[in-house]
Amino acid sequence: MNTTKKRLSKSVIIGLAAIILPFGAQATSDTPKDMHQLYEDNCASCHGSDHGGYLAPALNSDKLKGRSPTSLRSLIMTGSFDTLMPPFYGRLSDDEIRGLVKHLQSTPKQANPAWTIDDIKASIKVYVKDESTLPAKPTYQINSMDDVIGVAARGKYGRGSGSKAVFINSATHKQIGEVPTGTAAHIIDYNPANPRWAYVKTDTAEIFKIDLYSMQAVRSVKTGYNGPGMGVSRDGKYIMAGSFVPHNAVILDADTLEPLKTFELEGIDPDGKMVSSDSGMILGTPFDDIFAIALENAGQVWVVDLKEGFPVTKIEKVGRHLHDAFLTHGGRKLMIAAYDDNIVAAIDLKDRKIIKKLDAGCVPHVGGGAAVEVDGRTLGFGTNFGDCEKTVVSVWDLDKMEVVKQVPVAGGTESPAAHANAPYVAVDIISKDRRARTIQLIDKKTLEVVKTLDVGGHAYFPEYSADGKFLYVSAGYSGDEVVVYDSTSLEKVASVSMESPAGIFSHGRVRYMTRGLSPDEASAPANAPRLPPVGEMKGAK
């Protein structure tokens, strides 16, 4: 009884605080400048600093024309169920919300804001001045750095104390560290040449250089306003980052995060129009000293050579609205998805031209992609965002470059996970109803869905541990946990709590290049510990 009483009074206090604080704390005026700041501080990381949309819909006068201010106000107050939109009730005052609605309905989409190489340079923050003071080995018990799994925790509001990169030991399923990122972490990459460095990019385009041995950020740089694109070169010396806002990309020194060269992203799209373009995926490859970057709206892939002047080779007419991609054949071939053409284009990074365009279902979003060796064939797996009449996962023969099968699944999908040692390819169902709670498992051999896991929340971004023994899944928005399954029995074995977990990134990725391939696929640095060999390898290199 006593405890109940205590809890009751605590709740009353919290409840009161919720009601009184925001209204007591308001000292707002609703000049456009203040409202713009409010937008930047609460909305822009998802809706785009230019009001043009990013992860979330565009919010500008054109887009919101005719919408009732009352319904917009209540949407901001309560958030939108089944999406990442959180409730701002209690965080913003009623006056602020009303002011924002007015501001959004009267502000047109903004011109591409400038963020120059000087801005990037000036934004560098150094948290650890002398890196020689860092410990020489991990300060926690771990058998291999390959066992590190990083989770991009967004935080409920896409910013604040819940936004961080969380690192887990995938042998014990225990958290080994976390690094606050201020705004939602989106992508985690690992340095292929030195296992101690990780790079985390946020939705507001900051990149944190993280020392995994001591689990802290040593430096950060702001590369733009919004955009997830980031890649690390095979020698671990360069990072390339690309933005949605503004339309540019930059090559950084991976050690100091100093910007070396910026690129304006523009070009002639497949319909012959000159356009300025968002940055899509950026990949380094074990195949060569290059970066590949997708220009989403221009439908081009640029190959940047990592040598004096960073020269660019442009591959045009790849597809309409390019987004993400994965590598195959030792990193020589790039499979890139085109949303609006419903294809995946295979590109040869040696010859720097399109090999073939393959059917890819409905609004293909391949996530990190997956490729597995089955019965002498290399099969690629591609997920689809679209919620069309027929929802499928596409399977391609990556040697012959042809469609093998379109596997029917329960809904739209966002990201496939595979591992050489695990029997199933996992895909996340993202359709906005109860199906969003689930992950489906496709048998590698029969290419049929054999099991559906009810994970809870909005389950997405499956990822296998580096040894393939465990399947990690983010229970997403309201689930607030990462759930771990045994990858063969599919029994739940652990859960790790965090706020709005999203992408999951195994350190093993630097070794198998694309998830599902043998760990020897990417030429691993000689000093890295090797995983035990896993079955037969094809001469893909």
Partner: protein
């Protein structure tokens, strides 16, 4: 198969449930996931959120509070609207569900 996995999780996730009807917890879980957790979370709300946690709270208290919000004897723009959409059964189910959850 899916149902089996699901109830397995429930049994794992909840403290023992002697006298309580399992169906109501099942329904409560669905309602909580669809309505309450948006602000209050399942086990805990966001660290940055101004909303009180519900997991492990006294079931009778939760029911009384929801009914007061519903008939507007307790005032809150947001909670009056949300509780207004809940039936007596819904209220019993979500209160039972949250009360049985470990925070």
């Amino acid at each position: 198969m899916r149902l089996a996995t699901f109830s397995g999780l429930l049994v794992l996730g909840l403290a023992s449930t002697q006298s309580v009807n399992a169906a109501s917890i099942y329904a409560g879980q669905a309602k909580a996931a669809a309505v309450c957790s948006q602000c209050h979370g399942i086990r805990t709300p966001s660290a940055d959120a101004p909303f009180p946690p519900l997991a492990g709270r006294d079931a009778e208290y939760l029911k009384t509070a929801l009914k007061q919000y519903r008939d507007k004897t307790r005032k809150s723009d947001l909670m009056n609207a949300i509780a207004g959409s809940l039936s007596d059964d819904d209220i019993n189910n979500v209160a039972t569900y949250y009360a049985k959850l470990k925070p």
